[in-house]
């Protein structure tokens, strides 16, 4: 178990958004989070990230010490006046990634796969920029980037963290086909690494095959909203069909 929500409820001002949300997420699984507009998907994701607190219920996070959460919201966190590299370096250092201490660790020979990011911060920054194909633009001010490039830089920021929990809020918005493939690849890699992924997607049919689990926020009774579906991804389609006929 990596993340467990128990009986979460959340108000917006005085209005109830959802209540009674309980779910468990194991390491190495991908969960799609879905629901109608205003059902509180983004809010639930923010609760998982710790950005905002629930009004009741508990959030348990069992990350290994020093492990990070990677949160990708609607906004890119990019400083337009800093270069791509400077943006990346700032966020990495703020999350405690730095070259100096790692150097002693590098004495032991690196024998893992080539994919493994280098330990030195500068090398790692270069590696992350390379992964999102922004190496050529490393020194350019991020303010001139297109929406897609900015989103890729945002992805690089998260790759730097090697997060154990990856929270993505409609990450493919504004990405072209090529960048989408890049995103899918990184999600898969994170999963293989043993990270858990929560993914809010608006392209459900397209993304369903990539997920292990689906959680749907929706009406659970006449008057309240909660977790309408939580279960394996392959049974979600059948569930939807049954419900539409009812």
């Amino acid at each position: 178990m990596l993340l467990r929500l128990t009986d979460i409820s959340r108000f917006y001002g005085q209005r109830l958004i959802f209540k009674g949300v309980s779910l468990t997420l194991e390491a190495g699984s991908v969960m799609l989070l879905t629901g109608a507009n205003g059902a509180g998907k983004s809010t639930l994701l923010k609760i998982m990230s710790g950005l905002t607190a629930p009004d009741s219920g508990t959030v348990e996070l069992l990350l290994s010490p020093g492990a990070q959460i990677g949160y990708m919201g609607h906004q890119t966190f990019i400083y337009p006046q800093l270069s791509a590299l400077e943006n990346l370096r700032f966020w990495s250092r703020l999350h405690g990634l730095h070259g100096k201490q790692e150097k002693s660790l590098r004495q032991e020979p690196a024998q893992k796969s080539v994919q493994k990011p280098a330990q030195d911060l500068d090398q790692k920054l270069a590696w992350a920029l390379d992964q999102v194909e922004l190496t050529r633009f490393a020194q350019e001010k991020a303010g001139v980037f297109s929406r897609g490039m900015a989103q890729r830089l945002n992805l690089a920021r998260i790759l730097m963290l090697e997060p154990q929990l990856l929270l993505l809020d409609e990450p493919s918005t504004g990405l072209d086909t090529r960048s989408r493939a890049m995103l899918d690849r990184e999600i898969l890699k994170a999963k293989e690494r043993g990270a858990a992924v929560v993914w809010i997607s608006h392209a459900l049919t397209e993304d369903l095959p990539k997920a292990d689990l689906v959680a749907e926020l929706g009406p659970v009774s006449k008057k309240s909203t909660g977790l309408a579906y939580f279960g394996p991804a392959d049974q979600f389609k059948a569930y939807k069909e049954v419900r539409e006929h009812a």
């Binding site: 409820s9 108000f11 917006y12 001002g13 005085q14 209005r15 109830l16 209540k19 008057k223 309240s224």
Partner: protein, 239 residues
Amino acid sequence: MDMKKPTPQKNLFAAVAPLALLGALLMAGCHWMIFAYAPEERVMGLIQKVFYLHMPLAWWALFSFFLVFVCGIAYLARRTPFWDALAESAAEIGLLMAGLALITGSIWARVSWNTWWTWDPRLSTTLIMWFIYAGYLVVRRLDFTFERRATVSAALGIIAFIDVPLVFFSARLWPQTMHPSVVGRSGGLEGEMLTTLFVCLAAMGVFWVALLLTRYRQALAAQRLDRARLDYLNNEDNF
């Protein structure tokens, strides 16, 4: 739909009308005492009588701001909406009373020192407090969500009040002072004057409580109304 309910304080509100009535009677009594019972001050003359209103106004204004401070701490600790409503009510009444204290003080200054405004530690502190809490009320009316407004105002209410002693000490260090020290010093009020002052203070207190409860009830009602409207809009049966 599930709602966070503010603590209902019906019993408390039942006291509003009697308190207001009592306050009115007491205030009327005060005026009789001010003009008939208390003797005229020898040096300052008739204008000194404005003091019987000026001082209770200033005193209860300060107490209101203290209440904003207490509510701020309570809100940050408990996160219950009624503390926020109480803080708002207290700040508004405090601002009103501080404003009246400034006006009465200014009238007094005009007659006794021939100037509408002079640097005096207490008067200046009152004016600065007036500015601070006017700013506080501006922040309260910003376009925030309920919780952000409540949290930010609570923090600001705490900061504002801990600043007040420093304002007072610095205002006292600043040159020029003419304000008479009244209670507990030599040359202060005596006998009937002091009795009148304390009765005025108490009467203003009763009036203050009635005013605070009225405003507090309105603030709670506004919170309830917001919730009810959302409830109605959220319920699809209504459309």
